[in-house]
């Protein structure tokens, strides 16, 4: 997928004035965020599970080379094939090659953010292969020609009316809008026919188990199960960080993933696949391929201050908790991963210079860090990236701060390096903005704070600093005592 991270401000401003999307985004809080809080409250050892989940991921990422090697061996031992892809293009070409070599006509896709990085469905369609997204949300998005809006709820911004128009050719403006059940049934029957004729599936991977070569898939709809039951060939695609060492680790990871994602105790389906169909099995794919993709993740790994972002299990909890995501929506972020996690990984994976707005689009409220099931300290990494865009100390080409901005902070520093300057600066600023004020507040302030007063009054600087207030008080007290 081609990054569009430069358009953040523009796309955000469009969403801010779209009432229908603002209303849809409410569900992200009332459904997912509050659901997670309830699920966590109902899990006795929730904090213990988060600590354990973080420990498992920290350990795995610190030995990622070893576990990748082990995983590849295990998958091959099970009779599967492993392909390591340095980037999205390599992965895409490999999968296209598999489809062509096997004369594949229909590919069913299960939701996978990694396949979004590859823009895989479009590539298959361009090659003349029918490629259908089967997660209902993804299917809606595919019909709309859009990209997912949320990690686990790709069509969260679409209204029932939008969906009706996409699913039915005859739906016209003004027609009564079918309810969610009717729309779901329509999609069910359309997709059933596709499942029955599919000869290849592409799924994501929620967890790959290094020791056994198993992959775990978490779904509610059952499309993941269709994908691992019907077609001849199953291709699973994963980012190289999606490993856990042992089968036993799945119980912890599944608990924190699912409860953080939807607030369910468990999803309707968890499917564990250990290679292709065994000889005596009734059904299942004849071939199993695992594609392990890097696509810039090595840079997150090599930068020790960003490494923790590879712990992410893509539950979407940080999006749901984020006040910014809930206002600007998923498309503003301009690449595959929206929300707080997107704001730290997209800049590194696609280029910080174009994505410099992302780390700045945060009030640093820390809700993402509190929500994260593996405790990724997202605010800390946002600050790291802000530092790089402001000062270009890591790579001079990444600096996007303006000369004016740099001058402001230089002046700020000068003012803070001595108490007299600090007081003098405040007095001068007060004198300058005082004519604009009424009753101690300013309705229209000059730059650099003009943005504030578009919607808010700004406080006038106090005539006396705390220091001078307290010194007067001390004098009085002393005099009273004398």
């Amino acid at each position: 997928m081609k990054p569009q991270t430069t358009h953040f401000r523009f796309k955000a401003s469009q969403t801010l004035v779209n009432d229908q999307i603002q209303q849809s985004l409410e569900h992200v809080y009332t459904g997912f965020h509050e659901g997670r809080l309830t699920a966590a409250a109902n899990t006795d050892n929730w904090e213990e599970l988060r600590t354990k989940g973080k420990a498992i991921k920290d350990h795995t990422i610190a030995h990622l080379d070893h576990y990748l090697d082990l995983l590849a061996d295990s998958v091959e031992k099970n009779g599967g094939h492993v392909f390591f892809a340095d980037d999205a293009e390599e992965a895409r070409q490999h999968i296209l090659g598999l489809a062509k070599a096997n004369d594949v006509k229909t590919v069913i896709k299960s939701k996978s953010m990694v396949s979004e990085e590859m823009a895989l469905a479009d590539a298959l369609i361009d090659a003349g292969i029918e490629a259908v997204e089967t997660d209902l949300g993804e299917y809606i998005i595919q019909l709309a020609g859009e990209t997912p809006y949320h990690l686990i709820a790709p069509a969260v911004h679409k209204s029932r009316k939008d969906v009706a128009a996409l699913l039915s050719d005859d739906f016209k403006d003004g027609d009564p809008v079918p309810d969610a059940v009717q729309l779901t049934r329509m999609a069910r029957s359309k997709l059933r026919a596709v499942f029955e004729r599919a000869d290849m599936s592409v799924t994501g991977v929620n967890f790959a188990v290094a020791e056994s070569g198993s992959i775990a898939l978490v779904t509610n709809e059952g499309n993941g199960r269709m994908s691992t039951s019907v077609p001849r060939i199953h291709v699973a695609v994963m980012g190289m960080e999606k490993i856990v060492p042992s089968i036993q680790d799945l119980s912890t990871m599944l608990r924190i993933l699912i409860r953080s994602a939807t607030g369910q105790r468990i999803s309707t389906y968890v499917t564990m696949v250990n290679g292709p169909r065994k000889p005596d099995e009734e059904d299942g794919p004849e071939e199993f391929h695992l594609v392990i993709m890097n696509n810039g993740r090595d840079r997150l790994l090599a930068e020790t201050r960003m490494r923790e972002s590879l712990n992410c299990i893509r539950c979407g909890a940080c999006l749901n908790a984020c006040p910014v995501y809930r206002k600007v929506g998923g498309h503003a972020y301009g690449w595959v991963y929206p929300g707080p996690i997107g704001s730290i990984v997209s800049p590194v994976l696609t280029g910080l210079k174009d994505a410099s707005n992302l780390p700045n689009a945060s009030s640093l409220c820390g809700a993402c860090h509190s929500a994260c099931p593996v405790k990724i300290n997202i605010p800390r990494m946002l600050l790291e990236l802000r530092w790089r865009t402001a000062e270009g100390k890591v790579d001079a080409r990444e600096r996007t701060s303006s000369i004016k901005e740099r001058a402001v902070w230089k002046a700020w520093r000068f003012g803070m390096m001595g108490r007299r300057r600090f007081d003098l600066g405040a007095r001068v600023a007060r004198i300058m903005i005082r004519p604009l004020s009424r009753g101690g507040w300013i309705k229209k302030a000059p730059p650099p704070i003009s943005g504030w007063t578009v919607t808010r009054d700004f406080p006038l600087i106090s005539p006396k600093s705390l220091k001078s207030l307290l010194s007067v008080r001390t004098k009085h007290t002393k005099r009273d005592l004398d």
Binding site: R305, T455, K467
Partner: protein
């Protein structure tokens, strides 16, 4: 040599770090904090040389500008005895949680910062830890709701104490705020850099505030106070936003001198 060991006994004397914003924009908050601390029998020192902890520049990415200011902060406060109290969870978080990243190339400064950080408490945290939230028995006829300032709640981890302090004020009606733990949209430079997003977040907060019917909103950080008050004024609302130090000071003022 000043005593810099971690403290447990109830302190008789503390040092106030006002924060740059309180110092120049809201000195009343600092003044109130002093009154409340004195009411608890604590003598408050105010080092006159103080300015800022460096957070504004650090959060904007200008670490090379933040570094000398933060270093100056350390030099000033490592030379005072006893606990340091700041009426801001945000400044407390800067010193305690982020100086590590700012000083990470200087082990000497890192250690000095750690030692100062160990003695630095946010205002309500300090009262809770050494005196308990029932130590202030004020009274005030007002109806309030409480907004949970982000850095105090999530960076410092203080949730209950501010609410307990408020519920111990006699005559005060405390109405719960829906989504109290959701950010008000301030975020320092974020509020002027991306004012449209900041305001959209603020609007949700203000709607929830208005819904409580409370006459005042209490917050624990001056940034939140100005963001919310600025927005409420623009809406033409009469709801007042106050810092928790102010309302506690009000409550003991109306009760009169201490027992």
């Amino acid at each position: 040599m000043p005593d810099t060991s971690p403290l447990t006994a109830r302190p008789l004397r503390v040092t106030l770090f006002a924060s740059c914003m309180v110092d120049q924009l809201a000195p009343g908050v600092g003044f109130s904090a002093v009154e409340v601390l004195e009411h608890l029998g604590v003598q408050v020192d105010f080092p006159g040389d103080q300015t800022c902890c460096g957070q504004p520049a650090f959060n904007s990415g200008f670490r090379s500008q933040a570094l000398p200011v933060a270093t100056r902060f350390i030099e000033l406060f490592e030379n005072v005895d006893g606990p340091i109290v700041v009426p801001s969870g945000s400044c407390a978080a800067m010193v305690r949680n982020y100086y590590g990243d700012l000083f990470d190339r200087d082990p000497g400064l890192l250690e000095r910062a750690r030692r100062v950080g160990e003695r630095l408490y946010e205002f309500t945290e300090f009262i809770d830890k050494f005196f308990g939230t029932d130590a202030i028995r004020g009274s005030l006829d007002d109806s309030v709701t409480y907004h949970k300032s982000c850095h105090l709640l999530r960076e410092i981890g203080i949730d209950g104490p501010p609410l307990e302090l408020l519920s111990n004020v006699e005559g005060l009606t405390l109405t719960p705020l829906n989504r109290a733990d959701v950010c008000c949209g301030f975020g320092g430079a974020f509020s002027v850099k991306m004012p449209d997003i900041s305001s959209a977040i603020l609007n949700e907060k203000l709607d929830n505030i208005v819904q409580t019917g409370a006459k005042s909103v209490v917050a624990a950080d001056t940034g939140c106070v100005f963001q919310m008050q600025g927005g409420l004024r623009r809406r033409g609302s009469s709801v007042r936003v106050v810092h928790i130090a102010e309302i506690l000071a009000d409550s003991i003022r109306s009760t009169g001198p201490d027992r």
